[in-house]
């Protein structure tokens, strides 16, 4: 028997509206749902437009609910359609293309529009806001044709737009009215540190400038400021603010202030019409961030489904800038005034800044720059309006020596069930607790798979962990014991110990004997175990191709289109005219798309077809450069004493020697070295796993540097006098890392985990130990072979791996 459901119409297919619908569906709300949106796209994650612009995500990646989702949930969707009026009398929603949709309930979630400065010229071609996919497309397009861009507005959006345009190769100046960037979220200290960092990343600034005109004919060609100075720009992004989109509400006779006025249940002045998100004004506040709109959506969904709910009483907002390498965070009140007590610490060397504001000893706001590890915690404390105690103080500010010792683990008990833990995905504390209690989940990974929390920016992970701990109590340790992957609860050390104790020989045996949950393991544990087995038994272990990641199996780097990159070895970054010629000939013959000089001083042949790989290697007739491997990549060198007027040591010779000696051996992760002829350090040894600097009397060794995801400056390890000592120390460090490193753990993390002193003690204070380590690596090195040669000599593997069958 068909029941008649009430008709719910959502106006605005954006984050707030669809977030609410998702909640309603979860609560089993019995509505016939129609969604009407102006944009031609299904619901997407607007926040991530910044990543699309920056190039790390595509539009497809940011779709939240694709077309099928609407269909699967029986939702009628009209895209590219704008609602012009809500007719209260006939209870119909009227659209620009002449539809009239009857409703019982309406949600207005029309978001906001970019605020376009009302200055002459703002209508010119080449002037856009930063709001939706079409703006983003316009920027991507402009970057292809034009060079000079100006971004008006030094707030969150403006800075993200500017960084995106810089990444797209444009020359970008941010024009800001104030003297401080993000002045609505940051104080002067944090903002000047932010500006310095962005300048380092290539963004230019024109501060304290008021734009009075955009010049140019049809298309914009520059900006004129109130002080009569000018700036050339053939593309302008306006990011000076947003304006709640209230046109529809106004036209329909709904009470509007700055936004659409709503009560604590998100009800507007019109019966049966609700509003949430950026277009709504609640207790005088319009929010421009997602966390509040999820909180509103939760209340509204429950209200519409007839379940009991607390009223919405407003949100505490916090901000995070989504630019890589720039960590800033602020929550609550951030500008000190006489009524505040201010706790702050600024470290110009580490480039970090931390400030906490108290009012009558209650934590009301915080600003972090450079190190935002405490952000989740502080956000929570601000939300709770926690009273500052000695305990909290030492936790968030760190105590004792080294300023460290910040201890994790304040209880999340006080947090309301409805509170959003994961802002990116709108997941509440309750949803996480339910996932734990109903499904028996015990790990962050499981919570992620089930609720989506921690899936996007990861900023909420610490809080999710705390909730897990809170719910599971003592069983947390037990239950949440993190194995190396979800197939096991065993740690790396336990697995290695079992391999030795039980004499296990193959990954299969390991997984069998140690009772893996997924019988044949996964893409995380299989390569790891294969590595551990090889490291422990270099002479007897049969390398398992099927447990190798594609790059290592194929001996080349896979690219997103399925072609490969080939890097021949160039010891110490040195090549010969003959080799260069050969590389050029092969590149031409096999139609290589790009020949690129890599960061490690060698040549990348990009875009080789899989079936051509063996031929390319054969004709190059050079050793593999292991550009793909968890192994020694390159030894970067400077010119050194052979040619450089400053050089005191032969860095070229030493670099080539080290690269020859250690090539081909497996490591827990990729491994890079550098050798410099003198302390001028032209080969940048401070960002290498092992960096070597020559001086008058010998060499200085640095370890644990990294220039990648988590940049880290290498630690000074020791000084040696002779080449022999240098090699012995390098061998010992490398072998110690091979034997104790977690698979995929770079030395930068390894050094921090083990402690520099520990490594020094093992290698420097104990000669016998050092010699044994060096002997073990030498033995392992006798077992290695060049993978390219090996494949060329093995016809059947070559055919099966590289050649497509055609039938």
């Amino acid at each position: 028997m068909a029941t008649i459901r009430e008709k719910l119409v959502l106006v605005g297919n954006g984050m707030a509206g669809i977030g609410t619908i998702e909640q309603i569906l979860k609560l089993g709300g019995a509505y016939d749902i129609t969604v009407i949106g102006s944009e031609p796209h299904p619901n997407y994650n607007r926040i991530m437009l910044s990543y699309v612009l920056e190039g790390s995500k595509t539009i497809d990646d940011i779709i939240l609910n694709d077309w099928n989702w609407y269909e699967d949930n029986n939702i009628t969707l009209h895209t590219g359609t704008t609602v012009t009026r809500i007719d209260e009398g006939s209870k119909q929603v009227i659209t620009d293309n002449g539809m009239a949709v009857s409703y019982d309930k309406v949600i207005i979630a029309t978001g906001s529009n970019s605020f376009i400065l009302p200055v002459p010229g703002s209508e010119k071609e080449g002037v856009v806001g930063f709001r939706d996919i079409s703006d983003c497309d316009a920027m991507l397009e402009a970057a292809k044709q034009y060079n000079k861009a100006a971004v008006i507005g030094g707030g969150l959006l403006g800075l993200e737009a500017a960084k995106g345009l810089v990444n797209l190769g444009m020359d970008v100046t941010v024009v800001h009215l104030m003297e401080d960037l993000m002045e609505r979220q940051l104080d002067r200290n944090a903002s000047s540190m932010l500006q310095a960092e962005l300048e380092r990343q290539g963004v230019k600034f024109a501060m304290g400038k008021q734009t009075v005109e955009l010049t140019g004919e049809q298309r914009v060609n520059g900006l004129r400021f109130s002080d009569d100075s000018t700036l050339a720009a053939d593309f302008v992004v306006m990011a000076v603010g947003i304006k709640p989109n209230v046109t529809l509400a106004k036209e329909s006779g709904i009470t509007v202030n700055r936004g659409i006025v709503v009560d604590d249940y998100l009800q507007t002045s019109m019966q049966n019409v609700y509003s949430i998100g950026e277009c709504a004004e609640h207790r005088g506040v319009c929010y421009g961030l997602v966390a509040p709109l999820f909180e509103q959506g939760m209340v509204l969904a429950k209200h519409l489904c007839g379940s009991d709910t607390k009223p919405y009483e407003g949100s505490v907002v916090s901000t995070k800038l989504k630019i890589s390498g720039v960590d800033v965070f602020s929550a609550g009140e951030f500008m000190d005034s006489p009524e505040h007590t201010v706790i702050s610490s600024k470290d110009e060397w580490k480039k970090t800044y931390k400030k906490i504001l108290l009012k009558n000893n209650v934590i009301v706001g915080a600003v972090l720059f450079g190190d935002v590890t405490e952000s989740a915690n502080l956000q929570k404390l601000v939300k709770q309006g926690a009273v500052m105690t000695d305990e909290i103080y030492s936790e968030v500010m760190g105590t004792g020596c080294c300023g460290g010792g910040a201890k994790k683990g304040t209880s999340v008990e006080a947090m309301a069930d409805e509170e959003i833990v994961c802002g990116c995905n709108g997941v509440t504390k309750k949803a996480i607790i339910d996932a734990v209690t109903e499904n028996g989940f015990t790990t962050v990974d499981e919570i992620k798979a089930c609720t989506g929390a921690t899936r996007s920016c990861g900023g909420c992970k610490p809080v999710v962990e705390q909730i897990l701990q809170f719910v599971l109590g003592d069983s947390f340790q037990q239950g949440a014991k993190q194995g190396i992957c979800s197939c096991t609860t065993l740690s790396r050390d336990e697995i290695v110990a079992e391999i030795t104790a039980k004499g296990l020989k193959t990954t299969k045996e390991v997984m069998n004997v140690l009772e893996w949950k997924q019988e044949e393991g996964c893409s995380k544990c299989r390569p790891a175990i294969n590595y551990y087995l090889g490291m422990m038994n270099p002479d007897t272990h049969q390398d398992e191709k099927e447990s190798r990641f594609v790059n290592e199996r194929m001996g080349a780097n896979i690219q997103k289109d399925g072609t490969y990159t080939v890097i021949p070895r160039m010891y110490g970054g040195v090549t010969t005219p003959e080799d260069l010629k050969k590389i050029a000939d092969v590149s031409l013959k096999y139609d290589v798309k790009v020949v690129k000089v890599t960061g490690g001083q060698r040549l990348d042949l990009i875009g080789v077809k899989k079936e051509d790989l063996p031929k390319v290697w054969e004709e190059l007739d050079m050793p593999s450069g292991y550009g793909y491997a968890k192994s020694l990549r390159t030894v970067k060198t400077c010119v050194g004493s052979q040619f450089c007027r400053f050089g005191t040591q032969d860095s070229l010779g030493m670099g080539a020697l080290l690269e020859r000696k250690y090539e081909r051996l497996d490591f827990p992760a990729k491994f890079k070295m550098a050798v410099n002829g003198c302390p001028r350090n032209c080969a940048e040894s401070c960002t290498k796993d092992i960096g070597i600097v020559g001086n008058d009397g010998g060499w200085e060794v640095f370890i644990g540097g990294n220039g990648g995801i988590k940049p880290r400056i290498a630690d000074a390890f020791c000084k040696v006098k002779t080449d022999e000592e240098l090699i012995e120390v390098c061998s010992a460090v490398m072998q110690y890392y091979r034997e104790t490193g977690n698979y995929l753990e770079r030395t930068s993390e390894w050094v921090e985990r083990m402690g520099l002193e520990q490594i020094q003690m093992v290698i420097l204070n104990n000669e016998e130990n050092r010699k044994e380590l060096a002997a073990r690596i030498d033995f392992a090195l006798t077992q290695v072979t060049d993978p390219w040669k090996k494949i060329l000599n093995d016809n059947s593997t070559r055919t099966a791996l590289f050649e497509d069958a055609r039938v």
């Binding site: 990646d61 899936r455 393991g521 099927e546 194929m554 399925g562 593997t797 791996l801 069958a805 039938v807």
Partner: protein, 106 residues
């Protein structure tokens, strides 16, 4: 619209390494063919359901699952279904084993 199915002989079992995929072009369809450790053979369209696409044949095989080589999505070789938290599916094609001979219907 596909009207007819054609059956192709794509070689002997030995042509497929255990747990290592192989690309087979059958007619105008590019397949990724896998031999799992229990001796079964599966054929999928060689195209990742990830929005950025890319091949599947080079992934890591575990049981009846494949971890795709570019994005590490976990895909059921039997049904082509992508496992949560990711979503999507890959077209699968029926494979017949007749002694050593492998045929696939496309």
């Amino acid at each position: 619209m596909k009207m007819t199915t054609q059956t192709y002989a794509i070689g002997s079992v030995q042509d497929f390494l255990m747990q290592i995929g192989r690309v087979v072009v059958a007619g105008n369809v590019e397949l990724a063919v896998f031999r799992t450790s229990d001796g079964r053979i599966y054929a999928l369209e060689n195209r990742s359901p990830h929005p950025k696409g890319g091949p599947l044949a080079e992934g890591i095989v575990s049981g009846h699952f494949l971890y795709d080589p570019l994005y590490d999505w976990k895909i059921d070789l039997r049904t082509g279904e992508v496992q949560a938290p990711d979503q999507g599916s890959v077209v699968t094609y029926p494979v017949t084993l007749d002694g050593e001979n492998v045929t696939v219907s496309v």
